[in-house]
Symmetry: C2
Subunit: 674 residues, 2 copies
């Protein structure tokens, strides 16, 4: 084996530094516990949430810091003033005018008593105002989670036949969702939500919106019976098998109000001044519709109305939770699925607005807040709530400053619950359906899907899988499909890493991919390969095949052109972020394989993890540290030196120096080296 080929640099007078070649250091051995601790910290506490506690001295300050950590309200309440309150008051009343009709509509969608939608806009916003860290999030129920509750619980218990049990299961599912959300936050497992990619959510939300709109055909057409399935085929079959039951009164009323609502939506897009119109439109529709029914007595002519709504604020529901019996499992499953969907929407919404206004949101803390809000909600007759996008956007546009806007909304809902519920007696269901459809149309984000197609085809496939899975299968099928495709993509990236051959950019010491930089030129006698992923068991045999194919192709090419044969294979490990024993074995085999073909394996720019494992596996000695270089340029310089100066005997490195290698080293490498 040659001595360190880089030794040729040592006495070069032309080189400004006396330190060439620069060895790649092997990181010092660290105690196992310390390394494990650091890894765990980086995995679960990447945001270093305990920084503030370390800074606080004395138990008193630490207690305050802990409380302020759990209840961010303590941070901003002391500096709260009247001007802030004025903004929050306006915003709060605006979102209340949206929350009341939406709450009733979504509760109907979940097959729950309409008043539960109002309950859910009273207690949870108060909890969030204390514990949440977003200033713009408006808390409330959402259509997708409502639909999920209806379809998942509806399979187990019929809401028509056993409404009490069904309602109790909904509370239980909400409880489990809250516990699940809070545990994810407390166990710092918030990253699980990250596995729902944006593409998944676009497709999933679009599909869910389509399904929700389809469900509204029941009320819009005034049908007395309807399928409990949510897929397109069942719904269309159900609709067209009972054409004789269609009621023109419902259809006319629904179409008019839907047109009105969609019109205000379009108007509001014209400018931020008009957003008031779309924010107030639902409540206006409810008032107009109720008045119309009350005056024309349309409830006797096929227009279904809400009917009696119980007065009074949320009754306690602790004793309603179902922890035993055959139905708990389905409540648990519903809780976990709806909990994670609600989290995904809530955290995404919170983060988006935080970015607009440039403040920071701690994802795990938000999850604890959502969890607490749902646990408390489940004890006070509420069902699953989160931070819906539409309501939060209205909140933001109305100029909210802090979470006090949620408190104002809760107060407005409380007043409604205490005094105004009789006013909703004559509200026609078809208006609620129109409100839902108008809200859902915005969720079918076809522009985002087109953008996905343009930028990333795989993401587009994920999006479409989620959409069609939800529309033709069920919500769960769509979700599982999209997550599986997303994960497959990650696994495929690792299982099939890109390998590229590098060339020298003229007049520089830079080596870049020859397929990306057309001016990059290969170095005769040397093949420079770069691997773009960690070397893991999952790609070891692929890389073995692929690298040997690179060498075959290169040798074939050289043979055709009658050029110098191949002598060195330089592996640029700059992008190999991690390596496991499978990767180490691959390098071992590669080395043996190359030796048999009389080629020398040279490594360039290995990271510290690679160096540490090479050393532990004793591969460092067997490759020889003299064949491991800091940069590709240095590796090429050494190879060139060996090729041209030491040909007679590779073990004899002359002490006299040519400047080729050294100059190369210094970035003056250019085409004249053959």
């Amino acid at each position: 084996m040659a001595e360190h080929p880089g030794a040729v640099f040592l006495s070069s007078a032309a080189v400004p530094s006396p330190e060439f070649p620069r060895r790649v250091p092997v990181p010092p051995q660290r105690p196992f516990a310390e390394a494990l601790g650091d890894n765990l910290k980086e995995t679960f506490f990447p945001d270093d949430p305990l920084r503030q506690f370390r800074n606080a001295r004395g138990w008193r300050r630490r207690t305050v810091a802990s409380l302020a950590y759990l209840f961010p309200v303590l941070n901003w309440a002391p500096s709260y003033d009247l001007s802030l309150f004025r903004s929050d008051l306006v915003a709060g009343i605006t979102i209340a005018s949206l929350a009341i009709p939406q709450g009733i509509s979504y509760a109907k969608l979940a097959n729950l008593p309409p008043v539960m939608g109002l309950y859910s806009s009273f207690v949870p916003p108060l909890v969030y105002a204390m514990m949440g860290s977003s200033k713009d999030l408006a808390v409330g129920t959402v259509a997708v989670a409502s639909l999920l509750i209806a379809s998942m619980l509806g399979k187990e218990v019929s809401p028509a036949q056993d409404p009490t049990l069904y309602t109790h299961l909904a509370f239980t599912a909400t409880f489990f969702a809250g516990v699940f959300q809070a545990s994810l936050g407390l166990l710092r497992l918030g990253f699980i939500v990250d596995f729902l990619s944006h593409a998944t959510i676009v497709g999933f939300m679009g599909g869910a919106a389509t399904v929700v709109c389809l469900q509204q055909l029941k009320a819009m057409l005034g049908l007395p019976h309807f399928t409990t399935a949510t897929d397109l085929v069942s719904v269309l079959h159900s609709v067209f098998s009972q054409t004789h039951q269609w009621r023109w009164e419902s259809i006319v009323l629904g179409s008019c109000f839907l047109f009105f609502l969609l019109l205000t939506r379009c108007l509001s897009k014209k400018g931020p001044k008009f957003f008031w119109i779309s924010a107030a439109a639902p409540l206006l529709s409810v008032i107009l519709g109720s008045l119309l029914v009350y005056l024309t007595h349309a409830e006797n002519h096929g227009v279904q109305v809400i009917g009696y709504l119980k007065k009074g604020i949320n009754p306690p529901s602790l004793s309603d939770l179902v922890f035993t019996g055959p139905h708990t499992a389905v409540a648990l499953k519903t809780g976990i699925v709806t909990g994670i969907i609600a989290l995904a929407e809530g955290t995404a919404v919170g983060r988006s607005f935080a970015m607009f206004k440039n403040y920071h949101i701690d994802g795990n803390k938000e999850m604890v807040a959502f969890g607490a809000m749902n646990v408390v909600g489940s004890l006070t007759s509420c069902y699953l709530t989160t931070g819906p996008f539409s309501r939060s956007a209205v909140n933001y546009n109305a100029g909210c400053q802090t979470a006090v806007s949620n408190v104002v909304m809760a107060a407005a809902v409380m007043v409604t619950l205490l005094f105004l519920t009789p006013l909703f007696h004559y509200t026609p269901l078809v208006i609620l359906s129109a409100i839902i459809v108008a809200a859902m149309v915005g969720l079918i984000n076809y522009e985002a899907a087109i953008h996905l197609w343009q930028v990333d085809k795989v993401d587009f496939c994920v999006c479409m899988a989620a959409y069609f899975g939800v529309v033709f299968g069920s919500v769960e099928i769509g979700l599982v499909l999209a997550v599986v495709i997303s994960l497959l993509r990650v696994l495929l990236f690792v299982a099939r890493p890109r390998t590229t051959s590098l060339g020298n950019l003229p007049n520089s010491s830079t080596y870049r991919r020859m397929d990306q930089y057309s001016m990059a030129q290969g170095v005769p006698g040397v093949l420079i390969l770069r691997v773009d992923a960690p070397m893991y068991f999952a790609n070891a045999s692929y890389l073995r095949e692929r690298i040997s194919r690179w060498i075959d192709e290169e040798e074939e090419k050289l043979k055709c052109n009658g050029e110098t044969s191949l002598h060195y294979v330089i592996l640029d490990l700059g992008a190999v972020g991690s390596i496991d024993t499978g990767g180490i074995e691959l390098l071992e085999e590669l080395k043996k394989n190359l030796e048999r073909r009389e080629l020398q394996l040279v490594l360039a720019n290995p990271g510290s993890e690679v160096m540490r494992k090479l050393e532990k596996a004793k591969l460092l000695q067997s490759i020889g540290q003299q064949w491991i270089f800091l940069t590709v340029a240095e590796a090429v310089a050494a190879c060139n030196f060996m090729l041209h100066e030491c040909k007679p005997s590779s073990n004899n490195i002359a002490a006299n120096i040519t400047s080729t290698a050294a100059a190369d080293q210094q970035g003056l490498h250019n085409d004249n080296i053959v």
Copy 2:
């Protein structure tokens, strides 16, 4: 926005090249179908198996090439000669002497008639000799797959109560295993086997060997009844609850022969000359044991013997396959699990010996060969076969040259089946158990486990999970556990990518990780970050948090030291091999975020996929191509130029040139820039 800051280089006289700055090119748009085709080709045909067909001209040559592709025997048979045959003859007889006792033993382990072990060493080796591409693989049944068949099928059908159905299910499972193996090969899905890492296999094989040894306690102790479970707790309970049934005759006989077999194993490790001893020992034990029983009539004193073995070669079993009825599902499941385990062992063994002898094995082709061998086997009364390590090692050591050694072995087994089966009548079962235990001891590879602990702790965990899962749970639990941990590691690598800050190595233009290279020095006013994984949805929010923490920490540090504040954040994308829309969004957000903090985002060395997606997402324009550099050194040079020369107005780039930036560019960058 500044003009291209690199423009300063343009008229530098000191610079040898007129081409600075070098733009990072956006790859040209490719038609979707072409890109998709290339990706599919790289994913499924990385070894370019059709190369030989492209070279062959004319339909005749192509037919020959196709046939030779399917039946590699056509490649080597024409040049086969007597000297090769002499080697193969010796090797074939040697492995036959091992195959006969092992075949009977493993068939007993699978609760199948012992003669099926002999059948399975007759037909499949012939098929493999035609279709296989390994020269060293010796085909036969293996202990682990036998145990798996016993435990998976045994749950459904008792081999004692309904031996016919049980045997038919074993044929059916073998058939499904063969079809599954061949399909994996034909569909080019061989990489699925790669997801069983070496660590998984070490742990799994060790666990299976332990379980198989435990099962031998039945015969060793001469117990009439035994548990059907395979886990340690059940077996020990079963053994110690019937201590009164232990037979000293069995124990003494078994211990003596086990000692003898282990002794020959140890001897054979002394040198390659001694391997004959360990190869012949099992057959010798069988002969000695049978003689002993025949002479002492020990079969009447608690020593169980094989008993009557049917004479004649394999009967056809096509009509025995069970494709309908309630048991087909379990046969399918057993077939898939045993098929993949057998593939993993067979391909690993084939590859290892191919590497020793420096020839190439096509993994997918091997799978087709294994599949064909098992399908044909299932039609001729054989059960699952593969290339066991022990038998192949004996084959290799005995000097086999081609797959003809398998043919010789098959011929020897055929002779045994036709004429010698009555000789096995008095063979005691305890000898078979001793043979199995002696073979299994070698599979418990504790040295490999220690190596895993030293090199990679995660791989060690995977290995231990597989081992303890198999020993305390079941074979399937161990396997699933190990695969899940392995996949979690891959996902975690992507979900929690390492970010590191880079510094300049003194007297060079090289930038390296400051935690790896202690001499690397930060550049004042500039934070250089490197991301070591693809930017995917799964890590976008982590990276968002982590990068903002890097910036916070850097600014805090600068504030403490009273140094220049931060102005530029350079993101080294050299190791970002891939990006999806989640990653693009992250960059978009990062840019906005930095702008709000009055920092400039600078990208260095993006790959072509990143550039293409940046362009499609219109992010390239919004970042500005003048802030995208080919190397970190160029980016730093431009930042330094902007910081020091253009401070009054960043929009005004002076035309006069200082040499700082240009020299920096040329690798003369050193500490004197502040």
